[in-house]
Symmetry: C2
Subunit: 114 residues, 2 copies
DNA sequence: CGATATGCTACATATTCCGTAGCAACGGGC
DNA sequence: GCCCGTTGCTACGGAATATGTAGCATATCG
């Protein structure tokens, strides 16, 4: 485990210059694999490698970056024993994202690209 | 690339090789500006240029690409008079995404990066 | 005819992502 | 001790995307 997540401040988030929370959030979630990661962690902790497999073997570089971002955002935490998992806050996010599943089903039957 | 939206199907969506609707959807939404676009269209139609301003002046290249994807996905349509707006399906998506706003507020007070 | 606004595109530059490989640290079995 | 498998994580070069600026064709208004 290299870095205590608190390390670098760096420019808040890409895009969204306003700082409005919703923009920061949309910006954070609108990155490759971020939503997917949260989704895969929805009901069990996963090791970094298990997570990678579930994410179509996305490259560890990005996954690691996303995981760091998500940890800085307080949505994901790393448990020495079990691996990565959603924090309480992360689980709240999951709650609000879950309905997407039902929508996706409806969507795939009406307008989704194949 | 001037394409009538119905033109080519082209490789379904990046990543998500499974084809499960939720993956396709997460993949679609997990792209730069996609979520933001849907958000900005949440309750009024916008011309491409107005949309651009609202999206921190993102480059027209990506926005145009995203808009095309969203149109192919049946979530956004272009009205000659009023500009871009959500379809019925797009509005349903918006419904399921709206709770993010409230979450973002809570989040910004507990764990968000500044 | 301008003048203005629309949707959309070209192209070169920056940024980001991918894929492969590999590291250091921890544990278990022997 | 030693080997072996697993963990989290990183380096690096090439591929894919995004950015920024400019501009096109069309349409609408005066």
């Amino acid at each position: 485990m290299a870095k205590p997540v608190s390390g670098k401040p760096r420019r808040a988030v890409r895009g969204s210059t306003t700082g409005r929370p919703i923009m920061v959030l949309l910006d954070l979630l609108g990155r490759r694999w971020t939503l997917r990661i949260v989704w895969e962690l929805r009901d069990h902790a996963l090791t970094s490698r298990a997570l990678r497999e579930l994410c179509d073997d996305a490259s560890p570089t990005v996954l690691q970056a996303r995981l760091t971002e998500l940890r800085q955002a307080g949505l994901v935490e790393l448990q020495p024993a079990s691996g990565y998992r959603l924090t309480k806050l992360g689980r709240e996010l999951m709650e609000t994202v879950l309905p997407l599943h039902r929508f996706a089903e409806r969507w795939s039957k009406s307008g989704a690209p194949e």
